[in-house]
Symmetry: C2
């Protein structure tokens, strides 16, 4: 007999009985329908408060079709330490005080996130979706646009139809990082990039090339590895590269884990970061404030990104057009190597 907690929870019916009006009237009073008498509304609100009433989400959802749920699909890869937690923190901060709940679904496997999104839409599991790691021709974005389902992507696409997004300014990051390396006297700079398919690879590359071209500096893109390679692979590859001729003396690492992996490789080679090799990393977690030797780092504020993602999504759900919901997030700060 697990049915111990007998219905002690107040409903609109409870309020209606107490105030002496109909349930429908209570519903509309709580919704602040201007058609209801000011007086009645106040009384209903007061007694609702007294009784500790809170609406039944299931009933609302069944009746209205609005789930009051936001879905967040997390990428399987964590090349950024605490990526998920930071984003979740930001989203939740924005959702605080709204009736929205955040459902989190990590995306194991490869590209099953498309399938997950399909199910969320088909079964109307949420009012809106947030996901990350977009591609220029992102199938998920196409699907969601087609289905006219509210979403905001963390990252851009190159589709003709505009869509809401929040994206870090990776172009400027890469350009500034390259400029920093050059200013410090690097002769040949290298950059580690994300896998080909992701849009932000292009942004990083363009920023990098912009600085490279302006200065005419020797450069390279690290081969055989990407931001998504596991730490050991990155370490090993960079270690090897520094054993070859014409190795770079300046490195751009757009992620916490890859930054650490590169530093480890450099050190294992007997080189000193900041001296023999200039390094600029993109960090989100703050680890590089604690890692020695200190290296220059630029911050991407994922918590703020999360807040903006949620903010734009709520606006999208309320009908704001996509063109007003596109945000490129600036670099939020940087730390000089001591």
């Amino acid at each position: 007999m697990p049915n111990s907690t007998h219905s002690k929870r107040p409903t609109q019916r409870t309020i209606a009985a107490k105030v002496g009006i109909s349930v429908g009237a209570v519903s509309r009073a709580l919704a602040n329908d201007p058609q209801m008498a000011e007086e009645t509304r106040a009384l209903v609100h007061k007694t609702a408060q007294e009784l500790g009433y809170s609406p039944d989400r299931a009933a609302q959802r069944l009746r209205t079709g609005r789930t009051q749920v936001i879905y967040l699909i997390l990428p399987p890869h964590e090349e950024i330490l605490g990526f998920g937690t930071l984003l979740i923190g930001g989203i939740s901060a924005r959702l605080e005080g709204t009736p929205y709940h955040l459902v989190v679904l990590p995306d194991f496997g490869h590209d099953e996130s498309a399938e997950r999104i399909r199910r969320v839409v088909r079964d109307k599991l949420a009012d809106g979706i947030i996901f990350s790691r977009t591609t220029p021709d992102d199938a998920r974005i196409k699907f969601l646009l087609e289905a006219d389902f509210p979403f905001v992507s963390h990252g851009r696409s190159e589709l003709a139809t505009p869509h809401p997004y929040v994206d870090f300014d990776n172009f400027t990051f890469a350009r500034q990082a390259a400029d920093m390396l050059i200013k410090r006297g690097a002769r040949r700079i290298g950059i580690l990039l994300p896998p080909e398919r992701f849009t932000f690879r292009q942004h990083l590359l363009h920023g990098f090339m912009k600085a490279v071209r302006a200065s005419g500096i020797d450069h390279e893109i690290l081969e055989g590895v990407s931001l998504d390679s596991d730490a050991d692979t990155i370490s090993a590859q960079i270690h090897q590269r520094f054993g070859e001729k014409n190795a770079p003396d300046g490195l751009i690492l757009p992620g916490d884990v890859s930054g650490l992996a590169a530093l480890a490789a450099i050190q294992d080679r007997g080189l000193v970061a900041g001296q023999d090799v200039q390094v600029v990393v993109k960090q989100t977690s703050g680890v590089f404030d604690l890692v020695r030797p200190r290296v220059a780092s630029l911050y991407e504020d994922l918590s703020a990104a999360g807040e903006t993602l949620a903010d734009l999504l709520l606006k999208r759900i309320e009908g704001t057009p996509a063109t007003d919901l596109q945000y490129i997030q600036p670099i939020s700060g940087f730390l000089r190597d001591a």
Copy 2:
């Protein structure tokens, strides 16, 4: 807008119409009620499949009171890198294939997690709750036991009534860590502990003291800081300690961030970890595989912890008694400093 046939989601009514039986019969067939004829059941399942039917969660929830939601309350502090993401990954892995959804709520502010839990219970927002950072006399646990609401805590309490939990074996961690330091020739070992109020502080302390007493080694608990102090504070405090007389030459750091902070302080003092000061850290993220100089580390597998938390919670929801749902998670591996 002529639709009605195309975009409408199939319901039990759709199935009933197609098969030619009543809605109630469909419901029971889908539930595999043995009272239903085998034949009918099969037919209903088949057509449900064909129509792409999936039950409406809101309706089920309204009718049955079961939300099919698990709530995870994340601590505000992230002394462990990626704590949230790892735990979420584990929980989600276990929940995969079940009808349960994971709602994540980071706990900003101080101890508002008690308030959040109260609301989850009062408004029946979930079928079960997971939370962490327990105290010996944890108010949340008392409340949930009192309310007879399913939960599993990540961490133990010292309450008389048994409750489900998953807890890392911090006792053994601290004992082994201390033994390692002693074996490496440390003369005075120190440990950084969590704030007083948390249960796992005692476990760490007891493990530490067990090893200390057995060996009679000189020892200390780092003062003026805790695991929850921010990285800068930890760094500064340890830096200062190493400038005083009788400084420890062996350190136990039970967290990623504190480990990094300590290493930074040691290095900033001109000392070498692994040489002048022996260090053992507890890591969950893998960062210490990448940090130089290498230090000894013991792993806490948070992803596995998440899976167990979810597993025990599902069992609890199904009525398994609390005494069968208590798990102390062993150390999952260690990395020797090179």
